[in-house]
Amino acid sequence: MSALVTARDLAKHFGGGGWPRTGPVVRAIDGVSFDIPRRGALGLVGESGSGKSTTARVLLRLQEPTAGRFRFDGEDVFALRPAALRRLRARMQIIHQNPMAALHPAMSVLDQVRRPLALQGIGTRHSRTEAAIELMSQVGLSPEQGRRMPHQFSGGQRQRVEIARALITRPDFLVLDEPTSALDVSVQAQILRLLTGLRAEFGLTFLFVSHDLGVIRHMCDQVAVMYLGRIVEIAPKDSFFATPRHPYAQALLSVVPVPDPAQRTRPRSRLTGEPPSPRNPPSGCAFHPRCPMAQDICRREAPVLRPLAPGHSAACHLAEARP
């Protein structure tokens, strides 16, 4: 099976230019690589500042990458000129975190849903409206709601509008940037269920960015864990949740609160300290100051991703030493 999405050595660095210099170069992401097969779903998980959102944005060229390659269905996206890129956007779309902010505040919902079709020059004005109304009902909005403005909707409904807008051009690839973290649990369940259905129906490929391992486990078939701008572990979902290899991933998984009081007594690896700032990254392995197992080599050398099981890689010097 060939991958629809192939990302290689993505990097995004900020700052460093100008006079007087505005500060050190901040490596928001560095050397990020992954593949997503057609109809696959990769979950990108990490804490704040890990670079997961930057990865999503760089991929869609919403921020220009500093380095790296991204092949989408064989096309070299980072090399595309503006016009070609705009055409390709019909095939890859993004859902944002905050549904309050992701819709144009002064454009009716129907206008926003059908706008991508007009931009791509698809259909007539009438057929575009038809298509928008049909898709809106598919995501659970009634046609008469189309005339309303975004502020007249609740957060969950706005997220439905955003989904309809993203899917109107029938894209293959959907980037979801924390699509439910601004929503309540019950609304999150509605949206996740909707997305699962649409993924099957439209044959979508997902890059699902989230800090919530529960959501990732529910929605994805592959997991990548990021820490300070790098992927530290990437694996098929089952393999990852059964045997996480990287000490950070293990800790993360053990401290996620589980809604089951019976599990209170489970063993946990508590981390000290907080995620470091990308302005001032630690030497060697970025995780070593918080790692319970850190050795001398971890302070000196940055580990690279190594395969440890089929499809399962981790960037840790000591990963093999553990069961």
Binding site: S186, A189, V258, P259, P261, R268, L271
Partner: protein, 322 residues
């Protein structure tokens, strides 16, 4: 065990352009020494407002208590004059907030903000050593240096620790923690929850943990009160409620969480949306979204049923009846 803090039938309204918003409708809760009560619910359910009204920190107007009482150690808080209430805040009853980035004064040092709490509640002359002791107690390494630091020089987790140090410096009887870890990363969240638990054991205070995260409740609370649209729909020991929720809302809420520790099949979905509290539904406020709703639920407010072992459910048709 005698409860330290009791809320008894509290009703509260907010004045608005469209008429009074009935934000709280008959909240009844209690929490005892050394106990942690989780106050859980979705946004707009009134959990934060409940915390703020215990502290009497809601501006009035627009907020107005229309019925009920709040008692601390048997003494009514609502009938206290404001000056008397001020003497209790930060001394016998304290509160920490969601976002440590904005809840500390940015232009004053951490030490000065802490010292001020101690001074106002009549600490003796050795303020500096007490400030440093309080900072050390929350696991802040170099307390002397931390006291001289400004909030923006701290990370989110450190700020929340400083906030806790400030609020617990006078060893209060009750701590209201309003989403104390929501703005923090999950690894830091665990540290802060551990810290609160440790300090609780040491001081023996009662904790009301306001949160939207049922996972946090399961891991750190003894008892839980589930709120929906301004009402407490179910209260009881955490283990019992998570094992066998009695209210249809609690049950659906628990089944809506995608879990990291196990594969969940399909998530349960609660159809519809939260009601408008200017004109809340008659009878049970949950009935328009409830799969078990009957005619009775549409007209008659459900009673607070005592299920024994400290469990209460506010429902005409709890699961136990099925």
């Amino acid at each position: 065990m005698d409860p330290v803090l009791e809320i008894d039938g509290l009703c509260l309204e907010f004045r608005s352009d469209r008429g009074p918003v009935k934000v709280l409708d008959g909240i009844t809760l209690s929490v005892s020494r050394g106990e942690t009560l989780g106050l859980v619910g979705e946004s707009g359910c009134g959990k934060s407002v409940t915390g703020l009204s215990v502290m009497r920190l809601l501006p009035s107007p627009p907020a107005r208590v229309t019925a009920g009482d709040i008692r601390l150690g048997g003494e009514s808080l609502l009938s206290l004059p404001e000056a008397g209430m001020r003497g209790l805040r930060g001394k016998r009853i304290a509160m920490i907030f969601q976002d440590p980035m904005v809840s500390l004064n940015p232009v004053t040092t951490i030490g000065a903000q802490l010292a001020e709490t101690l001074a106002i509640h009549g600490a003796d002359g050795r303020l500096r050593s007490r400030v440093e002791a309080a900072l050390a107690a929350v696991g802040i390494g170099d307390a002397a240096q931390a006291a001289r630091a400004y909030p923006h020089q701290f990370s989110g987790g450190m700020r929340q620790r400083a906030m806790i140090a400030m609020m617990l410096a006078c060893r209060p009887e009750v701590l209201i923690a309003d989403e104390p870890t929501t703005a923090l990363d999950v690894t830091v969240q665990a540290q802060v929850l551990d810290l609160i638990r440790d300090l609780q054991a040491e001081i023996g205070m009662a904790v009301v943990l306001v949160t939207h995260n049922l996972g946090v409740v399961a891991e750190s609370c003894d008892r839980v009160a589930v709120m929906y649209a301004g009402c407490v729909v179910e209260t009881g020991p955490v283990a019992a409620i998570f094992a066998a929720p009695q209210h249809p809302y609690t049950r659906a809420l628990l089944a809506a969480i995608p879990r990291a520790d196990a594969d969940s099949a399909t998530l349960s979905v609660i159809e519809g949306r939260v009601p408008d509290l200017v004109d809340p539904p008659q009878g049970c406020r949950f009935h328009p979204r409830c799969p078990r709703a009957s005619d009775r639920c549409r007209t008659e407010k459900p009673p607070r049923r005592d299920l024994g072992a400290g469990r209460y459910v506010v429902c005409h048709h709890p699961e136990a009846d099925a």
